[in-house]
Amino acid sequence: MESNVQQFPPFREASAPPAHDDHAGHEHTEHHEPNFWQKYIFSSDHKVIGIQYGFMSLCFMLFGFFLMLLMRWQIAHPGVPVPVLGPLLEKILGQPAAHGAISADLYNSFGAMHGTIMVFLGVVPLAFAAFGNYVVPLMIGAPDMCFPRINMASFHAFFLGGVVMLVSFFIPGGAAQAGWTSYSPLATTIPTNGQAFWLVGMVLLITSSLLGAVNFIATIIQLRAPGMTWMRLPWFVWAQFVTAFILLLAFPPLEAAGVLQLMDNVAHTSFFLPTGLAIGGQLADRSGGGSPLLWQHLFWFLGHPEVYVLILPAMGIVIEVIANNTRKPIWGYKSLVYSVLFVGFLSFIVWAHHMYLTGMGQKIATFFQATTMMISVPSVIILTCMFLSLWGGSIRINTPMLFALGFLPMFGIGGLTGLPLGLAAADLYLHDTYYIIAHFHYVVAPGTIFALFAGVYFWFPKMTGRKMNEFWGRVHFWCSLAFMNIVFMPMFAQGIKGMLRRMSDGAVNYSAARVPGAIDALPGSVMQLNGVILWAAICLGIAQIPFIINLFWSINHGEKVGTNPWRATTLDWQTPTPPPHGNFEHTPHVVRGPYEYSAPGHAEDFTPQDEPVSPSAPLTPTAHH
């Protein structure tokens, strides 16, 4: 049975000759063979660009992870030289890492760059650009993206943006230090050009996202195969579609804000600097008249929709993996579609819940509190549909499914702990503590990143024709799950006890803890948690080693599989593996919805979207062999 499925003919048109894996590249033979640069660097093929994005973003994620490890060391042992990496840091960065210890400035730049890299260079490029590029055209039955060369330009802008961000570590004064949110006037008054680099890098990354977003939307609207109606789209495509709209419409205001802050930093304007601003006790030589709140509004107008840019593609992956491994249709497809549209719309009118403490006013806070509570409804609908989809399924457990299942409670914890933050009264207490850190990391780290791991394990066979090792995949999952929770769960306790975020030396929390009986001192047990978190983070890093080795080893040595090893229904699995340039040799004709698993009356427990509907059709799955 299994071997029969693996040799599934990828095309079902009556005229289509039976195609096999080894024929995948045959249409290339009449063209000249592209050289290395054309093939891997200046390729306009959506699959290559997707893999480029995936590789780069995984590298950036690892780099961001190391920044975090260094910060965790500093939090657990403030001012103590970093073991192992300390001398290296001093060699590379010089004075800010004198004696291998992390100075306050360095800690600040690590904090700012950890956030920036993880969000803009790690998760978004992986979730949206990498998976979106590779999978969306395949899923809708398109030969490529609408604008292949713009797609290439998008990757190159992303790459340049990443280079600018990395270079900023080495300039005098170091990288940006004002947090990933870059609040003014702080971002303008810190004496380093790192912020200007950050802004230029962001403009490049925003350009990349815009080009990508235009491309995705146009592709999904224009290049759907015949019969691929809107309600037959796999939900992953819907999630990417809404994500693309969020990027398209929410990023430009940040670009506007970035241009204005760049003017503040370079042309010495005062867009975000208030009248009478004093720096170091001296009246600043600025005209004043600007508004720090304006930056925050423009930043969070992107910043909050960005949360959904992080989470929606991840949810899309989880839905695909769950549908495939429960072997039954996803529960509530239409509810999912309307929910994701509603989330996309609402995500534009909740941004100021990040600003309850800014003094913007009670009435505005009340409005945003209401919209914030509203947006949890469609999010909960999506999560509920995922849970209900499991009900009564004969669940197939494999690495992608484990990560998808891990996503559910982890995202649940992240989402539910966000509710107190959405209420202005509770937020006053919890704001700027480790509670926030724990909350959004639960959404993004064990939430989104788990879903992304699921995606990597799930689509790896499509990209390479081989599966990743199952045993090491499970080791990777269970260790990651355990250590993620040991890292982030204690932070809820720390935050509720009042431990502040963004402090390079623990500030009042630590100094008070050293004085016996001091008011508001952190209890010793909370302080000790920092050591626990540090070691859990190190173990979490070690737990990624099996993944990294597995990923590269499996490219050439993984178990060989056919075109459709997961026995999936969507079009991405009905192509040769790996798909050739142009993806499909003949336009697929879609005749049914995306999740036709275990349909009664079929020999197989899955019915591909493009399998002819008539029982008298000459080609049935077994007729070929």
């Binding site: 398109a142 030969p143 490529d144 609408c146 604008f147 292949p148 713009i150 815009l210 977003a213 235009v214 491309n215 939307i217 146009a218 609207i221 224009q222 290049l223 398209l248 419409l249 929410a250 990023f251 430009p252 205001p253 940040l254 670009e255 506007a256 804000a257 241009v259 204005l260 003017m263 042309a267 010495h268 304007t269 005062s270 867009f271 009248t275 600025r286 005209s287 008249g289 600007g290 508004s291 304006l294 509004h297 423009l298 107008f301 142009g582 993806n583 499909f584 040799e585 003949h586 336009t587």
Partner: protein
Amino acid sequence: MEIPYTIETRPDTGLYNAKLGIWLFLASEVMLFGGLFSAYVLLRVGAEHGMWPHGWLNVTLGTVNTLLLALSAITTLLAWAACKVRDFTKFKIFHACTILLALTFLGIKSYEYHDKLIHYEIKLNNGTFADGHMVEESKDFDLAKKTGTVTLHGRVVADEKELMDLRAPAAQSAKLDEVTVAATDIKSMGNYGPRHNTFTAIYFTLTGLHALHILGGTIVIFYFWAFGGAMWKTDPERFTNRIEVSGLFWHFVDLVWIFLFPVLYLT
């Protein structure tokens, strides 16, 4: 498999790919300029009473520029129409006009920038303000060393607020003269560049970004105008689509100016 709908339209959407793409891009541009206009509104609303400038920009030049862009919108449309009826000569003529109009616009804009950059406000030690266009600096003028003099064509006012509303009767009737100030009397001095105040900051940023869009559009149109002949011969429909798409961008850039002109020049 080739990418479909690059030239012909998709039946259910009625669009070819690039046309949808440019509309999406313009949607993001609306949000970009929307963000900047919101910034303008918030800065202006938050300005200290009487400190938001009025009448600082030359309405005549602004009107001329508005008309230039409006005219270029017409020539752009006609250039596309000429392509549609397959008349390449007319296309060449109309888009030559577009390019010339755009360059004239940029020329006038540069003149206006220059006018602001040679306009100085000098805060004097006695609390008054000398304000006007730079006539000359004496050879030994050095603000740090306190030597030499500077001569402006303008006036001296007691309160900075008098410089804000140039449409007020007092400012209209004020006599402009040559004012010479010694460096020793100068507390601080600066031109009407972006850093002068939030108005010049937003003025330079908004019109600068708009001018960059004009420049970008002009380069694209010039490219099609100068090097489009080859594609015209092989695939006129595709070339016509390119002219339409670049024309849509051009109309958007014109439209931004239609908002910028009243917001900056007339209020």
